[in-house]
Subunit: 249 residues, 8 copies
């Protein structure tokens, strides 16, 4: 939200009309009658417009993506199903840069003019197992699009803990570490006990029976005896964006 005081002062001094003042306070762009997106956030904290496709109709996602490209020069779409992917292919055909990951169902579109941000910050993303990779990649792509240097290390879970020890130099130099894990979700705790940088736990909806679908992993991260914060199950975008915000500081 914009700071009201300077706007009020400008209105008071006559430097700003009432209508323009209201427009600035609003600070969003309408997409037809079903969406309005925030045009100030990226400037503020570096978090780009990301469209969660799940729960929206393919045509809605495409319209929002088009408007975002127009306004921002880039859009990231996550959790893309088959039909939405088709709808986005059309949007993609008119832009310069498209990155599509079938495994993590994420698409990045950029116009030719768009200049990706670059910040001084390194994020390392670890996974406990092979099945955690799609979610981890959502986090990695997000942090990379926010300008960070990103490194990924997969399948180093605690069941054979020597695998993680062998890779500890890869998170030793990070400014923020994201640790994705399903099942018992113990890897973030062990990493947080060893890392210098802040650790963000990213529970993954892997596992069956009691505590399955990421529940045990989430609860284990919340109960961790070490210092770490967590995000929701499969919330790769949130983990990646938070990590980039931390790393860029």
């Amino acid at each position: 939200m914009v700071d009201l005081k300077p706007i009020l002062e400008d209105v008071s001094s006559g430097d700003l009309s009432v209508d323009t003042a209201l427009e600035r306070v609003e600070g969003f762009t309408r997409v037809d009658d079903f969406a309005r997106f925030d045009t100030q956030r990226e400037g503020r904290n570096g978090v780009p417009e990301v469209v969660l496709a799940e729960g929206k109709r393919p045509s809605e996602v495409a319209s929002i993506a088009e408007r975002a490209l127009e306004k921002e020069g880039r859009v990231i779409v996550t959790r893309i199903g088959e039909e939405t992917e088709a709808a986005l292919e059309e949007v993609a055909s008119s832009v310069d840069y498209t990155e599509w990951s079938e495994r993590s169902c994420i698409m990045v579109l950029r116009t030719a003019e768009y200049e990706p941000p670059q910040v001084d910050g390194k994020v390392t993303v670890l996974t406990g197992g092979t099945s955690d990779i799609p979610v981890a990649e959502e986090a990695a792509t997000t942090a990379r699009e926010m300008g960070c240097d990103v490194e990924t290390v997969f399948d180093v879970g605690v069941a054979g803990i020597h695998r993680m020890f062998a890779e500890r130099h890869r998170f030793a130099t990070a400014d923020c570490v994201v640790v994705a894990a399903g099942r018992e979700g113990a890897l973030p705790t062990v990493v947080a006990g060893m890392a210098d940088a802040p650790v963000i736990g990213l529970p993954v909806s892997i596992g069956y029976g009691a505590g399955g679908d990421g529940e045990a992993a989430l609860l284990g991260m919340l109960q961790s005896c070490t210092v770490l914060s967590t995000v929701n199950i499969d919330a790769g975008f949130v983990a990646g964006a938070q990590a980039a915000q931390v790393a860029r500081d």
Copy 2:
């Protein structure tokens, strides 16, 4: 339920036969052997016969719709799946007015003779996001069919709270406000802290991981620090009917 006393008095005075008295007490219409619907409710509180298609067989829904049209001149059917839609198309072919929303899976049928009610009351329906629209539309259609003036405002959730502020004049004049929201479901609380009219929270089954499918939204509305009442997750019809009952008073 009819008031027993006058019926008893009429029976006592001989103005009413025992059989007719029983019929009045019953006050419902049978549909074959599997359904009986209430023929007194709409006169009583303005809530029309609404058929929830989910869990019923298409042929059952069609039969109930036909009988309702015959008795009431209008029927509203919600949560219509593909097969049921086909079955209703046939019923629709013999009536004068059909309104079908593919997005919210709701159909309104009216005979030529039917005169829709009109009450003096305005209901505003807000949504936090784009994905909440189908449920919000179920509420809006219901309130509109009950005779209210209905306005909708979509995608004004709290993550970019300035979007909602810019639209607050649209619920300032409402007699009742319905606020549909999934994910963290915080919008009804913020609106209830600003609105003059009663607010009804309508949680939507949007969101993943812990608290997903509307659970966090429902719990957040129940825990709200402001004054608001709530309905079940995705219960668009209930929210709309309750809002219309409040607005028409």
Copy 3:
């Protein structure tokens, strides 16, 4: 929240200084460094300042109550424990009007100058059992303090449903009906099937074993086949305030 536009216009025209404009936008009063309460809500929607004592220290509650009396002329405190009651007795000694219900742990304090509001609206509060009375009384007191005419009918639950039928004339004339029920919580559904006015379900934390502590009652109200909205378990204040808002319209 105040409407920004007229304030901006007054600032623009020079009729309002920037500082006063900010003050109006803030619209709250500080209590030491630990609380700030809303001084505009009652004027807006009739909901008075109510202090939830649970979770606050007795001295904090007393300070907030004193400041509220000073600013508003009345304060309502709910969920008062033994120690807090003692702390409030002192505050009470300096005001003109005190109403203390040991059963429902609620206290109303008013200064001599305070003139209670009066609105044209009737609220009927029903309970399923004897144990639901304390929560029902919290709702009744709230609606009464908001100026409504309030009637209560206790112990008319569905296990012996003829008890409720015998009292149905008492909610027939209400503008809003609050139905408090624990255990299986079926009374609001039956009442909503019979009442003309909107019904608000108020689940009560009565019951043991599976679904105890009001869980079955809350879920039953959310699942109701009739039209009703609900509030959280034991949320007597919310139910009463919402009912009064509905009734006064």
Copy 4:
């Protein structure tokens, strides 16, 4: 389980060989290597062999059904999916009597020689709504196959409670009443407050959002202020068999 003492006495007296004694103690029939069914239960408490098809492979269900027909002359199969139905059609082609309900997914097969039991007992099965009928029919078929006189009354739920009152003579003469209800599941409580006979609650997996899939209904029946016992959600067979056991006494 057979009474050990007389068998021991017969062994002691030489009237029974050790091997035959063991056989009697076993009291079951093997179906290949994957099933063994109880050949003494029906003689004991009247409950027939019922095969739950869900979770078994179609060929397994058919084999068990064949063996049961051979040994008992009748078999009841519940929760039949499409493939299993096909497999059973073949078994059905070689028996004299087949009863197949598509709505409730239940099949009864009897050989020509089989003489259905007849007991002196009436069971009434009520449902709250139209969607509860399939589960109610599973209960009704079971009780009927156990020899009871069974009556069904559908769609008399509490939202329009006058519908149930109009039919109360139909459960007034029952020896046991089964009440099937989804959503808020309040009907069993109201019926148990009015019936002379024992009432068995049968929650149905109807309803959405919080407390959906029968959860609210089950909890409401467990919390009921009246006297009733309950069975699991959708457990039509258990409710019908228990009712028949109660009614036949």
Copy 5:
């Protein structure tokens, strides 16, 4: 609920005044302004007035007990805490017969004139362990007060299943069997596989950790592969009353 038809006929014929007709329809007795109890239930299904003390104030319980004694000649009070016990001692001092069980917190009061019912029916109550006894006794007392012959067998749980086999003659002759069990709650299933009479499962809030407080026991009874119905955790009164209703038929 009384049958409306004959009352209507009597009103019609002039044999019954409107006021008396209403009174009969009401069929309850008021206790001050906080309770009204059902004066027709015992005549109807044999279930006596039982007052659940939990959640009521001691003075309320005493008042209800007094009124019930006056009207019915007997009252049963369950879940009596220390303070309520003291309040009831006074009521007890003026009646002829008092039975107080400290272990199960239940009190039975009868006036000198009261003649306990006697029905032809036997109920056997089993427990899995020693800790289940208080709840089992609540069931036993209830069935006994309803006129049944009651036998109890304690501590025969499935961990040492030979203990139960040695006592199986004690439920072989019952008309209804109540099986109380905490922890894994498997005893009702094993008994229902062996008994001729209907079995009612009574889960007990014994057990710690996951599934503790009777949750595992309740779920296990609901999931039972045999035929049994169940009541809520610790609902000794409900189990006993239902068993007596079944046994007396």
Copy 6:
């Protein structure tokens, strides 16, 4: 349960009377009318009679303990509260050997004649934190009383995983390892990834907020990517007895 066949053969051959045969089949000892304990289990699988005091009255515990001492020469009582401890002190005054742990609320009593078993097997018990020690000690005492060599290692949880590595020689030689952990409960997984012997997870009711009271620990052990089995939260006796059974093989 005894093997029926040889008993039947002995009865057949006249070597055994019917009454003695029944007694052997029963195989338990009665304690007044409220308890019966298994006199064959220890001979069978080495698990001694252990009395869970929680949920039993002090006098009941004392009576069972006395009878067990008489029959078995030893008794172990767990989860002893203050009053029960007093009751047991009296029983203890008449025996030769008493071991009382205030921290883990466990008491072992032995008569002078009793000879503790000795088996060839080592059990190592680890804990994640200091707060897990009481539960771990219940496991250790049980295994020790069953004749095992028991070693304990405390406070070696995964937050500082080097603490555990420094002690890994202490479980390298065990025949079975019990790992007690609360909070996120990750230690059993890490140990199972390194140990040669079977690992039993023992979740402890330590931790607050979501997943507290041992829930996250239990779920994490059930979801473990390694091979381990688990027992319920705080079930120290079960873990210890199972470990001793495994170790003694």
Copy 7:
């Protein structure tokens, strides 16, 4: 994890280079960039590399299987879906020994050179019902591949408990007993009360309504009054591997 001390000593004495020391400490093999598997576990505790196909892409599973065959000479893959089965058929075409169970979705592949282990230990696997067989077979296959002698006994659940008694000689000689059961899951408790060997409960996701999908079974095993440990719902591999570890000792 390898013992650090001897490696450090060898490095100290010059017998081991730093690089080789690190390699030994790592002790895993990489599969492309998405997996690394433990090459020391089988030598340590006999548990073979088992690939859980669920959650991995078919091509990933095939690659891991190929690498494992190369390194270990055998691989076991569980929870194989249709597409993965096709991918594995190709891998299978180049090895000497393939065992594929459609019912339990498990595949064992061995090269010609591979010599299966043989240990001295017997594991008996029991199931409560027919539907529990697929999970039980996963346990049986795992224990058999670890070199144990395995016996299976199906459909002996507690509803007709005589079925299990007739087969008790089949687990009397086992070194470890696995008991798979869904629904109420009471069989492990009854078996543990009768067996000499340690019992491992294996809950199965069979059952509907409350406590369905194995929840009641799991909770019942955790709450068992006997001594048994448990694994997660449907965790056949874990139960079989733990049983083999116990049996081989």
Copy 8:
């Protein structure tokens, strides 16, 4: 965990003995036989030794505190109950600096020699209500002890959202913002939509009924439409330490 490679190299070169190498790898200090704490963590990531008193005996807490003071010169103890407070007062009597907050149950002890760290970083801690203050203070104290500049703003929750807007300049300059909120927990979402710095949600166990005790707050934060990470309910220490780690970067 120390980096193994240089230690191995030093051992290889003879610069380090095997025993010293092991000691370094261990890196912890023993407290009697029940605790061992990490002596390297603070140097690594700035997180000080914090003792969670809950679940430990007072004497254990005091011993650990003493040893920590000896080794580190400072100790922070959280969740201190009455008895533990008394035990710590004695420890406090021998140190130079004691800070005790009765409201948040936290104590900081420092020796005279101890020099508190100072980092360049600002943390702002907000609360939604007055009841959230104790948990917020735990976070604030932790961040302050880690050397950050800390500002607190209380009672600015979303029900009267203008209160928060009036204070937004206080988090505009922060390097990390901690937002503590109970009830519906919406404040972190609104703040994260407006702040430039990373936001950490801290749910507080305030609230009653469904979603009470912080559950709705936690779920709402996990479901937030904005970018924020969260910690467990009431985990003030974790939030404060994570915030300080982020701020100091």
